[in-house]
Symmetry: D2
Subunit: 307 residues, 4 copies
């Protein structure tokens, strides 16, 4: 369901009137404010508000009186130092508030990140829209044969068609019945009481879209992104994380660059792994058999080293 | 789906072997351990573990070396004092771990209480059982006409029958298709790839049952119970809260008694309400018009005073 | 130690350059930004940043696309409703960041509120200033004879003088030795190694001032204010809470008004207290003996009713 | 101040009476219960209670009905897998409660770990004991010349003696005045009011000992240990962390072994570092100049590889 004309007008109105503030302003972030970023077939992310910028991180780290920036390069160096040494509190001094529209099964993964503020659209109080996530054909994948919680090859032909038919038909029928149960009239107009919304919603499948306001500090957002922008995350939440990465990059460029280097692109080796690594650097040929690692660990070790 | 014989045997085995411990033991709680308490049509609560008892609360409050109980009545008085004056940290020193089976739409309300530890059965990794919550006829209620997020009179006759038919049929069909999508064979035996579990689950409605381990401290459990054992809470989560109340009463009887007096049965009056109350005690007849309250507030005020 | 000229200049510079933003702006709050509010003899509170305003609360409650304000009076009514019914998540959608300078013993009470972000000035890394809280004579009070954790009458004459002398002399001497231990030269100029800062600080008393950046959402700030702006809170933290109340009143006037009515000025009666109240409203004369309450509870009950 | 005879008797009494329980029991942990582990000159750690064992972790991960242990080696493999892949929630299903006595400046570092429950001895309500941390000569170190928040060589001769004299004398005098201010009689017996405890405590230095009950789940305890048992942590908190490591090793041996391999002994390389590592494994000689790293990063990189 695309935005209504009224919603578009509300967004334009919110963007039309810049007002003066004495607070830290991130020019890069102002461009994103309120605009819907489309995700999946009906989902979106909108930045509703933010607090702080790169300088706010170093200002808090220094507990300083002024904006405290001696120079941009000083700030960048300090931000990299803080990220490298797991000093998390200065990053908690930036905050972002989002409006997110997402399928319920994605929302259920997302909410597991508890250190955030959430206000979800209430299906006890309101009626949900007829909007369901139906995967694009290229994302309709078989169960992975090597990873118990992953997916493998794309489904083909008849099988894909059958799956899409079922997903569409079951969602549509469930919603038809949801509406019919809620209604104070039967199909032929005969009056009926109408089922309570808090009960009727139980008929709706997990691919229906819900919405919430979600607010989180930058440290916890980075933690979310590290787990959810990861290739092992389920595709349907990963696309939200990836869209957020683009936004954060414009909001706090120095912090995001440090995050890419020290978190997203970083690799951790176990004590055992470090032992192997040191032997390899000394010229020894190490194999799984001589590594002391399980097959799974060794596969991950080789993968990290790209050997 | 009742417990399997294997599950019953596991529970019996766990209950069969008491072992010695030097820790605080709550006799009342030992009786509940592992036993399934049935909730709704297929749900359950099982106590998996607990830490502390009434004395553990006062012992922490006194930061004492020994069990610190001078007398049971001393402990009770101190517990009442702590509860009355909102000293929450001593109550955080008790902990409970539960195994809960509950419909997904109840789980979604429950998880909003963020100060707890949760480990949910993963539908990315495993296949959910064919179990759906279908309300008993006496709980199949119409939308409330006065409360936007509540329910009113029980549905009757044909309307009730229609609703139950739809709930049952849609759940059954959704599950049939869930199984068919997951399967590596079509109905006639022709092989197919089988849809990834993380995708197939999106077809399942919100009344399917899920399971989790949930661990929480006593202070946060009381907060949960105050909100969810309240008459305004949705029936389907309230029955879980009420079942928990019975368990907590046996675990920490003194703390539970204080909770009943100072939280469950307590009433808070606003500054405005206190003004009215004092005028009424001085003999004045106060009406909504002379109260300064809105109609909604006045109705709640009268309700609290039972006048 | 008053602000240095450099610090004043930094604050003026930060206030001199309003910049355009599309975010929600609270005019009332802009006036407070960066300006030091003096608390105690050397303490201060400065607002460094904020997110949201009254409308941001209702906007989140409605999960709406635009600013969503139909009218100011609608917003006020909804805010009052949310506060009255303990809907906390919409209030979590506003955030404030403060720079606070405060004595260490106050900081130790403050930090017990865990749901906030803190970045404290590090005495491992930096050298603390020679600034100590010395109570004004009117706040130098005796131990309360009725309240184990409160204070009673103001100290007089010689006793007050002795106390002030000791506080001043011990703090001064401790700081002299702190400096002497840190120094790489003895008093006569002879070189010495100089004790590590992380060790030297252990000589400093609890009335030395520290500083931190503290960031919290509005819901948790209200919780802090309810406990710390209370007459039972220790005076030295209460003055910080009271200063914050003035700031919050200008930031989110409608939310603050609801907070005053439903929290600050509200009274909670236990189940037992409600029983007495109903009997009194029915004309019965209830005494402590017939109330079923302990003496302490009855005293608080009478106090709340001002009878 | 060694334990009093009464305290020793309380501890012995608590250890004297094993009681039957149906809960998970960790034999290794039962041996630690209540016994004081001495830390620093007057500090201690005592295990007051615990919940769960190694099997409780895998049981929660499987959301199983019984204890769920197929075999010990299965459990160990699963625990290693969970730790390696940052599945934190199963580790949150174990909990520990400690009684800790520690200097105030250590308590101030410790409390920064917010995801825990704390109940501290109240100096508003009670009188603190005359006990101060005075470093042993071998821990009296100079400020590090390379690390702004670390210590270097041990102080020697006169300088060490001066420091110890000041620490002892200032603490003693501060405590004498604390007592004199609290007292309801002057030294010569003349009555006086006696300063409120909540004020008198401000004269006490940061090396005075305080006590608290501290309760935390295993995941958050591991996080604490990773940061505080690290060589970069301040010695005075590190010794507490190291004492805790010994306790946890006996409580949950499989989880602790995984923690040692994947956290304590693990090394994380940045994206940049991984690039260098792959070049080195391919036979290239990489130097700081050709690494793209800053000098600080390169030093840490070399340190990790022990080259």
């Amino acid at each position: 369901m695309p935005l209504t004309e009224e919603q578009k007008a509300e967004i334009e109105a919110a963007r039309a009137e810049p007002r003066p503030t004495l607070r830290a302003v991130s020019e890069g972030m102002e461009r994103w404010l309120y605009r819907p970023v489309e995700v999946l077939d009906h989902g979106l992310i909108r930045v509703i508000d933010y607090m702080g910028d790169d300088s706010a991180i170093t200002q808090a780290a220094r507990v300083s009186y002024g904006r405290g920036t001696k120079s941009v390069s000083n700030d960048e160096g300090l931000i990299r130092y803080l990220m490298r040494h797991w000093h998390s509190t200065p990053f908690e001094m930036c905050e972002i508030k989002l409006h997110v529209k997402l399928p319920v099964f994605v929302a259920r993964q997302w909410i597991r990140h508890r250190t955030a503020n959430v206000n979800e659209y209430s299906a006890r109080y309101s009626i949900l829209d007829r909007e369901f996530y139906i995967p694009a054909p290229e994302h309709l994948a078989a169960q992975s044969t090597v990873n118990n919680q992953g997916r493998g090859a794309v489904l083909e032909g008849d099988e894909a068609a059958r799956v899409l038919d079922w997903l569409r038909a079951d969602a549509g029928r469930a919603y038809d019945h949801y509406e019919a149960m809620l209604s104070q009239a039967q199909a032929d107009g005969t009056p009926q009481a109408g089922l309570a919304r808090e009960l009727a919603r139980m008929n709706l499948p997990a691919n229906i879209y819900t919405q919430w306001y979600w607010k989180v500090d930058l440290h916890n957002l980075f933690h979310f992104l590290r787990l959810r922008a990861d290739p092992h995350a389920q595709y349907e939440i990963r696309v939200y994380a990836e869209a957020l990465c683009e936004i954060v990059k414009d909001w706090v460029p120095a912090a995001y660059a440090a995050f890419e280097d020290y978190r997203l692109g970083a690799v951790q080796f176990s004590a055992k792994g470090m032992g192997c690594l040191r032997r390899m650097l000394a010229g020894e040929v190490v194999t799984q058999e001589t590594s002391g690692m399980s097959k799974g660990e060794w596969r991950e070790f080789e993968g990290a080293l790209e050997i």
